[in-house]
């Protein structure tokens, strides 16, 4: 089953990996930083090995986005960012795993200090009749 793992973060200045410019992450002792980094790399390698990682992208600064709306009978565009909140969508991964449990197991490793990771199931077209 497919899920997206959404990384909500606010690196200052904007960049990737987000932990490079997150104060909360930088405040950690170096060995703790290394441990978190290695755990994430290991999970990513394992997911690649198992064919669970479909794709993903790191996203550019939310201020570089353009918003499109329909207002007063016309389509109009304005400059981003979209959300007023501090945390912005920084990147996403699309995964295909055997179960929700597996998705939760791997998604936990995408989180780090100072940011929130959202695991969202994808909808599928079919249904069961029972």
């Amino acid at each position: 089953m497919k899920f997206v793992i959404l990384i909500h973060s606010n690196p200052q200045p904007w960049g990737h990996p987000t932990c490079d410019t997150l104060a909360e992450f930088q405040a950690l002792p170096p060995e703790e930083q290394a441990r978190l980094g290695k755990e994430f790399d290991d999970v990513l390698a394992e997911m690649t090995e198992r064919g669970e990682l479909i794709g993903g992208e790191a996203l550019a600064d939310p201020r570089s986005s353009t918003l499109f709306r329909y207002e007063g009978g016309a389509r109009v565009s304005v400059d981003g960012p979209y959300a007023e909140t501090k945390e912005q969508l920084a990147g996403f991964f699309l995964i295909d795993v055997a179960s929700r449990e597996r998705a939760e197991e791997v998604a936990a490793y995408f989180s780090g200090p100072g940011e929130t990771v959202e695991l969202r199931p994808a909808m599928w077209p079919g249904g069961s009749d029972e």
């Binding site: 064919g51 295909d96 055997a98 994808a122 079919g126 249904g127």
Partner: protein, 406 residues
């Protein structure tokens, strides 16, 4: 390629591959050789006609291609050795070509069910090696990019190569566990096909039909294996309802509202006959019990006449030998149908758990029971909660509709 050639190919490819694997353990080289033979067939059969014995033809051509590949590889290695070692060994003599005259489906499936592989890899390998499907077709069936599926398959093959198993694989005591893994994989392929109506129709792949075709072959190889028979019967009983489970708009029609005249009676009769012959023999496993439950539904002329007592008994047995949250849930539903909504609600209360709390079917079952018990508002809330949790678009529409009915 014409449909005829395509069908012959899908039937013969695994047999040809098995024939080659008897001579070489290099899965990739054998597969490449088999693909080469297909290209040759696609080129020459339309002109010269399909040979009388297409398998012998394909094995002959594929073997020749495999030898060519080995020879080219050996020559390359020899050249390298000549540089470092003037006393290079002579090339190996060509081995005679062994034509398989029996179905090696079982050996190949057991090999694809290696314990080091994940279910996803086993599924992909079985469809590729036994089903003869292309990576593109498998990827389309599972709605993932072709590159992802290609990676999954090549990693799985690398794992098998490392394991370096002879064919037929697996020590006898491993066979039972591997067979379980094969059946699980086939059942997952069927479920995927049963629930996913998306995918690239141009590739014309019906995973449910493919799962049945493969299970039929496993059943032919192991006619006396009760669980394989049970799995096949279960699939046939599910497939018999395909046409009745959605309306013209593609909306989901649940079991109790389906037009039972649209069920495939011949398919149901075949599944029931299979079950009647296998159930009295030997130990009864989970697939046989699930099939028996499906058969009770299938044999009832209307939803109202369903023998819920018998279904309750069967779910109790299933709950004993293979307990799981979905089985507990189905048991509670059956109790509710047999003994009334309050008994069902009580059964649901007993099995509440954090896992089921997030399961849309738990809330849908509660909603149906609450509604039958006349508790309209709680029922509505439960339908809406179920709609929030489901990942299926038709199911979500159905549950929202139910929430609005007054």
């Amino acid at each position: 390629m014409t449909d005829d050639v395509g069908l012959i190919w899908r039937e013969q490819a695994p047999l040809v591959l098995t024939a080659l694997l008897r001579r070489s353990r290099d899965f990739d080289a054998c597969e490449d050789a088999v693909q080469d033979a297909l290209v040759d067939a696609a080129r020459s059969w339309p002109r010269s006609g399909v040979p009388d014995d297409p398998r012998a033809w394909l094995v002959r051509v594929a073997s020749r291609r495999l030898v060519d590949r080995h020879r080219a590889e050996a020559a390359r290695q020899r050249r390298e050795r000549v540089v470092v070692d003037p006393a290079a060994t002579a090339p190996a003599a060509d081995q005679p070509c062994v034509v398989v005259d029996h179905d090696d489906t079982l050996a190949l499936m057991l090999r694809c069910a290696h314990p080091d592989l994940t279910d996803a890899s086993r599924i992909a390998l079985i469809l590729r090696a036994v089903g003869g499907l292309s990576t593109a077709q498998i990827a389309a069936g599972f709605l993932v990019p072709e590159a992802t599926m290609a990676q999954r398959i090549s990693r799985a093959k690398a794992t098998l190569r490392q394991a370096d198993e002879p064919l037929p694989p697996a020590a006898p005591h491993d066979v039972a566990a591997r067979l379980d893994a094969v059946r699980t994989a086939l059942s997952l392929i069927f479920t995927e096909g049963h629930t996913t109506s998306g995918g690239d129709r141009l590739l014309d792949l019906d995973l449910a039909r493919e799962a049945i075709r493969l299970t039929e072959r496993l059943h032919r190889a192991l006619p006396d294996d009760g669980e394989t028979t049970g799995l096949l019967a279960l699939m046939l009983l599910g497939a018999a309802r395909f046409d009745a489970r959605s309306d013209e708009q593609g909306e989901l029609i649940p079991l109790e509202h389906q037009d039972r005249r649209r069920w495939d009676r011949a398919m149901i009769a075949r599944a029931v006959a299979m079950l009647e012959s296998t159930l009295p023999v030997g130990p009864v496993g989970p697939f046989q019990l699930q099939a028996a439950i499906a058969a009770v539904h299938a044999e009832s002329p209307t939803a109202e006449t369903t023998d819920w007592r018998q279904i309750t008994v069967l779910y109790r047995m299933l709950d004993r030998i293979a307990p799981s949250p979905p089985v507990a849930l189905n048991l509670a539903v059956a109790v509710g149908m047999a003994d009334g909504p309050q008994a069902g609600l009580e059964a649901l209360r007993r099995i509440e758990s954090p896992v089921l709390e997030r399961n849309h079917r738990f809330h849908a079952a509660r909603a149906h029971l609450l509604e039958r018990d006349g508790q309209r508002e709680p029922a509505r809330a439960a339908f809406l909660r179920a709609a929030e949790l489901t990942r299926s678009i038709p199911e979500q529409r159905y549950l929202r509709r139910r929430a609005e009915i007054r």
